[in-house]
């Protein structure tokens, strides 16, 4: 039985996120979601699996490497991944090989000496704020994911609420 623990780092910009603004603008001005969509925010998500060590301490070290505190904030969640109420979180990740995630794993293991890092996964979480009730919001979020947020030939998505 695996004893690995998963450290989830949710990272977001403290400064305005131009990419999220562009996505919001495109959805409202070009794709007809102006009457239901209130806002779009974005987070980066790193899920780091470790096979030993204190995950809380390790998380602090990983955050030093992966988060630029001059412009980003983050929270750590160990063996869980929860999101707040009030928006629909859509997690988008590559289903083809993710070169950046592999690079991060190798950097942590080989260059920085964290040999207890077993795996690294990376995703983007789009936080979609709607003016509608939850069932309609979830349906709209799926539609937005499929029409804009992913290219199904390389990305997959998951509604996290």
């Amino acid at each position: 039985m695996s004893m690995n623990q998963k450290i989830n780092l949710r990272v977001w910009l403290k400064i305005p996120d131009a990419e999220a603004a562009t996505v919001k603008n495109t959805l409202i001005r070009r794709m007809g979601y102006g009457n239901v969509l209130a806002d779009v925010k974005k987070e980066r998500l790193f899920s780091i699996e470790v096979d030993s060590g204190d995950p809380a301490e390790l998380a602090k070290s990983f955050a030093k490497e992966l988060v630029n505190e001059n412009k980003e904030s983050h929270i750590v969640l160990i063996d869980e991944l929860q999101f707040e109420e009030g928006y629909v979180p859509v997690k988008v990740a590559l289903h083809i090989e993710d070169g950046e995630a592999i690079s991060i794993r190798e950097r942590l293991r080989s260059r920085l000496g964290f040999e207890n890092v077993a795996d690294v996964k990376k995703a983007t979480v789009w936080k979609l704020y709607f003016d509608t009730l939850k069932p309609e919001a979830q349906m709209a979020a799926r539609e937005i994911a499929e029409k804009l947020l992913i290219n199904p030939h390389k990305d997959s998505y998951e509604i996290m609420s």
Binding site: T22, T26, L94, I96, E100, I102, N151
Partner: protein, 276 residues
Amino acid sequence: MKIAVLQFPGTNCEFETLVAVKAVGMDGEIFRWNRPAGELSGFDGFVIPGGFSYQDRLRAGVIASKEPVMSALKEEAGKGKPIIGICNGFQILVETGLLPGSANHNGVGSEKSCGNVEMALAQNVMISQGKIVRRGYYCDWVNLRHEAPSKRCSGSFAIERGALLKIPIAHGEGNLVTTTPGLIKKLNDEGQVVFRYCDKNGRIINEFPFNVNGSTESIAAICNEQGNVLGMMPHPERAFFAWQLPAFDPRKQRTDEPGPGRRVFESMKRYIEVNA
């Protein structure tokens, strides 16, 4: 013969592309993305040049693909007018569904023609001897072999099958991947693979440094079924004149000679002349 060179926020090759268009004897102008899209109908052909439209936000080409000008361009494509997408232009055409375009030919303007995206130009992954040796953005001069019969495609209309062209690439997302069953076979069978990356002798070697981005079957350029829409990752406008060639190429000194990229623009002109 008037060509629109489309300009989105972040496009950065529009001016040299326009030079290339005019140098082969076509008229042309830069067409900003926010002009009334209907004005596109006054042009005989279109080039979507390279660059980083919308800073490649979300993924390369996708934000531009939602602009009204692209809906108008689909209508022009349906009329058989030539469209060449170079680098970011190729990415935009893929995200719009104009390439490979199998789902688009049942009626322009219909829901179906809004485009099923059938493939992706994913992040570069350079593979050699079974190992990943490099990832991400890469720029270099590459050799291309023309795979389609001449006259099959607007952008290679006047290029013979098997011709070799040396043209530069510069991109981070040119790795053609698809989960559409049978798509690659169909592209091969129907002559829609226009260029492949190859070595200097024209041999296809499906690994880095010959296959520069990990693209399926070393595919560098494809056209739609009708042949009027071409998407290519390499930049022909950057090899239009011999003086643009790299220092190690002896043709660089022959300043009166055309560069290999000129043949793409000459093809477009010939295609329009024949199909007018």
